[in-house]
Structures are given as C-alpha cells and as structure tokens.
C-alpha cells in the first residue's frame, strides 16, 4: 500500500472506512501517524486537506468553497441525514459494524410506514413504488460510503461502515 494508490481512490470522493472490505487496508495504512502526516503534506501541496478520525478518512478542498459548492454541500448532507434517519427509525440498533438486510428493511418499511415516513421518503425519492425506491435507498447509502455489500453473490446483506460516524459526529456537534 502507498499514498499514490490511496490518492487514486480518494480523489474520486471516496470516504474510506477501516471496516470496509474494499478500502479497509487503505484506512489501516493511514492510521499510522507517519503515513498520515506524509500523505497530508503531499495533499496540501495539491490543494486538498486530509480529514480522518474514528476509522474513516476523506478529502476536502483547501481553498474556500464557492456559493454553489456550499449549497450542494448543504443539500447533500441534509439528504444523507434523512437517509440515516429513515434507516435508524426502521432499524434503531444500527451502528457502524452492524449487518443489515435489504429484505428486512423492506418488510419493516411496510410494517412501520406512516404519514411522516412517507413525507421523508418523498423528500428523497419521487417514486411511490416501495421496492424500486428501496433499491435506490440502498444504492444511495452505498454511494455515500455508509454501507457496503458484504458478498457479491449475496445481494441481501450489507455492512454499516465507519463512514456513518462522520454524519453522527456532525449531529452530535449540533
């Protein structure tokens, strides 16, 4: 493992989590202070900041964001808060490291659906069909590096990544 390989991944906006099967090795590499400082220095010369704590790492821009960027940043974060809120309303025990099942999520959604839940769902998805929008829900969580499919052959089981703690730590600071 080296910092060039990690940069190739992180420059695409990937948040790497220590408990991820895909990126865990990279996160572990950065847990060594020496590697972290070295990578951080290199990134600063390129105009990026390295951020990381509690087993997850991500890049941000060194220079100030413009208005459009900030607007997108805020919008994106609100959507992710909504995603996690729905996930935790249906599966309250979920934390990083938990295994969740798609089929269980859909079944719980059908059982616990109420007016407020529908409103939240509509905030994220225009589709009313629960199954196809649930697939989108899981896809979005994966895109945000909050969950990861455990096995390619098993499309039902997902691992909750350390990346979720990033949003929860923001929540705690509110």
């Amino acid at each position: 493992m080296d910092i060039a390989t990690i940069f190739k991944v992180m420059m695409k906006g990937v948040m790497i989590s220590r408990n991820s099967q895909k990126y865990g090795e990279m996160a572990t590499f950065l847990l060594y202070e020496e590697n972290y400082i070295h990578y951080e220095e290199v990134l600063q010369t390129l105009g990026y900041e390295l951020n990381g704590e509690n087993g997850y790492f991500f890049l941000s821009k060194s220079e100030a964001l413009n208005k459009d960027e900030i607007d997108q940043f805020v919008r994106s974060h609100k959507e992710v808060f909504m995603l996690i809120s729905i996930l935790k309303q249906l599966m309250p025990y979920v934390r990083s490291g938990t295994t969740i099942r798609y089929t269980e999520f859909v079944s719980l959604h059908e059982q616990k659906r109420d007016e407020k839940m529908n409103e939240k769902w509509q905030y994220l998805f225009a589709q009313s069909d629960l199954r196809s929008s649930s697939e989108k829900f899981f896809e979005r969580l994966q895109k945000e590096y909050i969950i990861e499919q455990i096995d390619r052959k098993d499309s039902d089981s997902y691992l909750v990544l350390n990346g979720m703690d990033y949003y929860l730590s923001l929540l705690e600071s509110m």
Partner: protein
Amino acid sequence: MTHLELITFIYEHREELDALYKKKTTAVCETLEKSRLVIKIGDEVELSDTYRQFIDSTLKRIDYGIIFHTYSKELKELLKYKARYQEEEKSYYLDEMYQLIKNIFFKLQKRDEEIQLLLVKIENETSLDLDILIEKAMDILKKITEVNRANNEVRELFFHEIYTVHGKIDYLVDSISTQMIYFVENISSSLNRLNQFIARTRKLRVQNKKLLQLSLMILEEEDEAIDEMLRLSPREYYLTLHRSQKNSIQTFPDGSESSRVIRRLRQSMEFLEVKKEQRKVKIVMPQVENQHLVNMERIELDLAENGTEDIFLFIYEHPELTDFAREGVSGLSLKEESFKIFLQLIIPENPHIELSNTYNNQEIRIARWI
C-alpha cells in the same frame, strides 16, 4: 413410564410439541394433553415449565424473564447438616453435605452459563425498541448483581463455615475453589460488559431521537440552524459529489485533471530522498520464553529448612512469588497464585504439615510446617 418410553412418546408427538414450542398451536391430541409434558390453562394447552426449561437449557436458549434463585435454602440446609454432624458424627450428614455442596456448585456453573447466554442475547437483540432494550438490560443488571452477592455468600460460607468439618468435605471445597474464583471473576466482567452495553444503547437512543428531530426540522423547513452549522466550516467536511449528475461541482479532479494531479503528486514524491538500505545479515536469536514458573521445590526446601507457623503467609512472602507478582501473569493475583501453591502443598498427605482450625489475616486456614 420408563425413560426410554418417554423418549419414544416425545418422538411420536414431535410435530405437536414443536408447534406448541413455537406457539403455533394451543390444542393437541388427548394423549399428549393428558401427559405431564403440557399443561392446560382454560381451553389452551401450553408446554409445561419443566419441559420448556429442559429444551431451553439443552439448546442453550434463554428467556429474558429468567429468575435467578439464590442459594439460601441450600445454605441453610448445609449449616443444619453441619450442626447435626458435629453433634452426632453420623456419616449420613456428611454425605448429605457433600451432595448439597455439589448441587450448589452445579447451580453456580449453570448461573454462569445462563448469564453469558443472556448477555449474548441482549447484545445481539434487534427486534426490541431501544427503550425496552435498556429496561431489560437494567433488569438483567439487577439480577446479575444479586447473583454476584449470592456467589460471594456461597464462597464465604464454604471457606469459613464448612471447610473444617471433615477432610472429605475440605477436599471437595479445595477441588472446586479455583472454578469458584473463575465464576466470581466472570460475574464481575459480565457486570462491566452490561454497564458498557447500557451506556452504548443510551447513547444510541439519544442519537436516534436527535436524528428524528433533525429529519422533521428538514421536512418542515425549520433547518436554519443546520444550514448555519454546515456552512460554518465546510472545508473540514466531506463534500459528497457524484460527477455523473448534472451541474456537478468539480471539487475533486475530473478525468482531465487527474493525470495532471498524479503527475504533480509524482513530482512532489521525487523530492523525497530514499536512502538505500544496507543489506544486513539477519541473525536469528533463539527465542527466550518467559514461562513465569514458580519453583515449588525451592519453596518446599526453604520450608523444610526454616519451618513456619503459617505456610500460606510463608508462600505469599517467598521471593519466588515476589518475582511472579512483579512479572505480572495476567489474570492471577499474588494471593490466588499463593493459594494454588498452598493447596498443592497441603492436599497430598505430609507428616510435616499440621492444619489448625484458625484462619490468618488473608482468611486462609493456618497450616504449620513442623
């Protein structure tokens, strides 16, 4: 009915019994209804408590409602038989005491297993509401605290009241003493584990409530505070971007930029001086294992040479044990290690050892080396 006939009976009614166990039915055939495997409450039939307990314990399943009975009845009986034995010296009372100690020990062992099962169950619980989960965990905490108190009571009584009654009883108490220390330590770590679980779950509950509140604020567009917080220092935050979307913002380099960035990255890395490491001959040193062995022979020789009024204290203060305590073998205190050696010395018959009926300041029976 013989045991074998009972097994056959269970086999013949396995489907109905399974349905009752899974609470899929409340009615069974007349033959089963008349058996003691089930009980009838009103019009409904349920598995008898003893049968359910047998299944749960064999299959290592546990119910949150489990009641941990203490050992007070057995301990009372034990003291009663001790008094009778001391008055009449009939071996019958000794046998009863022996059986009671064994029963109490089996109960301690069962409690230990049940507590471990209960902890695994609650830690992996996903079907309960967090409020109920915390309530159940608090209830279990109360039960384990009670078991902890009862276990200590048993230990005290075994060593202070029962130990000196007869050699046969003493031998049994000695042979289970290490296991009893293990149960007591297990309970103490279970209490810690449960306390941590409760703290974690409480934090999760607060987090979930806050998330719910936040999502409602976003829906009702009362989210200025969130906007302000997020806008305060976005440079430190993660900007999730999906470049396939329309109007995406190029905070992360796109395809055309990435080769330029990698080139710059390589250039900056070229400045790093990497000294060629000189080849060194690897010398493999023989591995020295630290086995933390206590030289029993030396202790015995010193005892024979100097004698002592209290063998346990002699061992406790012996340099062999001082080294042992300093080197720090995990999981064993100096007292526990000394006690183990003490038992190894006094259990085999030794004409030089004289056991007294009194105890030292460490609450260990005083034995003289003569």
